[in-house]
Symmetry: C2
Subunit: 260 residues, 2 copies
């Protein structure tokens, strides 16, 4: 927990908040704060700031918060993920939020079992605390948007353009020769939508539909990875490629300004 995230309603109108849950435990027993100590705080979907520990008694802390820093920038990657089995999905929420994803769209696919959609791992009361755990790890405040789609074809054909702003679309495909950094290096996009298939892969029909709707196949080498490992690896590669292109771009701007 590298940031204590607070909900707007916990603060009410003032700057004071009283905590007695895991966050209080973390402040008292991990950070070992005393009255007068400061901790980093953030508002869910809002600003960052600092809080001073006013008082602690037993397992309760009272914080006085000032939110003076801008919220972090929205992550420039969105994820279209064929719903993995519930155990894997549960494990994925926090890492996805910590890596930074703007919108997580979970979709059905031929090799997704229908009953995966009926588990409470897709209930907001289950996944929201897990997303917040990931944000607190990564010092972010912006909750990823989550949407759930039971009809793959309808999603791709009718809904995708409204759900996602114009961006480069990538489809993870073990048989693809091109790599993420090659495709993004050529295109230098501002946002990326990454599609990751089910454990058994997309069917040919699904792949064709994605390609028809602008998804470029990208590979990650020959090893077959579990969905959660693959998602973390692929998101890291996309972030790294965007970051690297951004840096090159900034450097070449500076060089241009210097040479003018």
């Amino acid at each position: 927990m590298n940031l204590i995230l607070l909900e707007e309603h916990e603060l009410g109108d003032g700057s004071r908040v009283v905590l007695s849950d895991r966050r209080a435990d973390h402040i008292l027993n991990t950070l070992k704060c005393n009255p007068g100590s400061t901790v980093r705080v953030g508002l869910v979907n809002g600003s960052l700031g600092l809080a001073t520990l006013v008082e602690s008694s037993g397992e309760t802390v009272e914080l006085d918060c000032r939110f003076e820093d801008d919220p972090p920038a929205c992550p420039s990657v969105d994820l279209l993920l064929a719903l993995p089995r519930p155990k894997v999905m549960r494990r994925l929420w926090a890492p996805l939020a910590s890596l930074g994803v703007g919108h997580i769209a979970l979709t059905n696919a031929w090799k997704v079992e229908r009953n995966y959609f009926d588990t409470h791992v897709l209930d907001e009361e289950t996944y929201r605390p897990l997303l917040i755990e990931g944000l607190q790890q990564a010092r972010d405040t912006l909750l990823p948007q989550v949407s759930i789609h039971r009809q793959f074809k309808k999603l791709v054909e009718d809904e995708l353009d409204d759900l996602f702003p114009p961006q480069i679309r990538l489809m993870a495909d073990p048989s693809a020769h091109e790599r993420i950094q090659e495709v993004l290096g050529r295109n230098n996009p501002a946002r990326v939508l990454l599609a990751v298939g089910p454990e058994g892969g997309w069917t040919d029909y699904e792949k064709d539909l994605l390609v028809q709707h602008g998804f470029l196949p990208v590979g990650m080498g020959q090893r077959i990875l579990r969905t959660d490992t693959a998602c973390i690896g692929l998101l890291t590669l996309v972030h790294s490629a965007l970051d690297s292109e951004g840096r090159k771009h900034r450097t070449s701007n500076i060089e241009q300004r210097t040479s003018n």
Copy 2:
């Protein structure tokens, strides 16, 4: 399970093996094999091949195996990891094996709690099946070597050169400006040793010691990740950079040959 891994002793002298564990369940109920079907098999630390299902009865299968393919190449990345808490370490074994690591050296560090070393997650009978699970996922047969080091200074000063063949050494450091692909692009190494610190980070003393012993600091952006997420992301970046340099090298060799 994209490969059924067998131990040498299970086969004895012949080519037949009888299974009645998770592997049999996978062959019967996930792959839905019948007598005459073939499945991909591998020998732990040995060759790859195909097996024909000879007979199945209830929960038991008998396979006739031929190992005619070379073992996969040894992964060109080694990992020096400050031992994470047991729950995280348990979760990491399978992904590490699936991503491909030659040698996993687990070390103490200032911010590693001593009692982490006393848990059975470091017993070979605990981690070996988890490594095998990761290999079966990634269609690999080569078990990562594992070594456990309770003295960080002794490890870095006296043991590292013997444990690891000459290679580029990288140290994951959130404050570092340079990225993995930049450093590896400049050096084009055959092997990489990657050091990943504890949740609270390396101390300045530990960082200095690593730098004195040739570790180059590399960053992964501003977000702070949990050890398991960071390990998966960093290993993916190292593999991707090695792969990309290898591809560039092969392309430039072909271009040279073509232009001669």
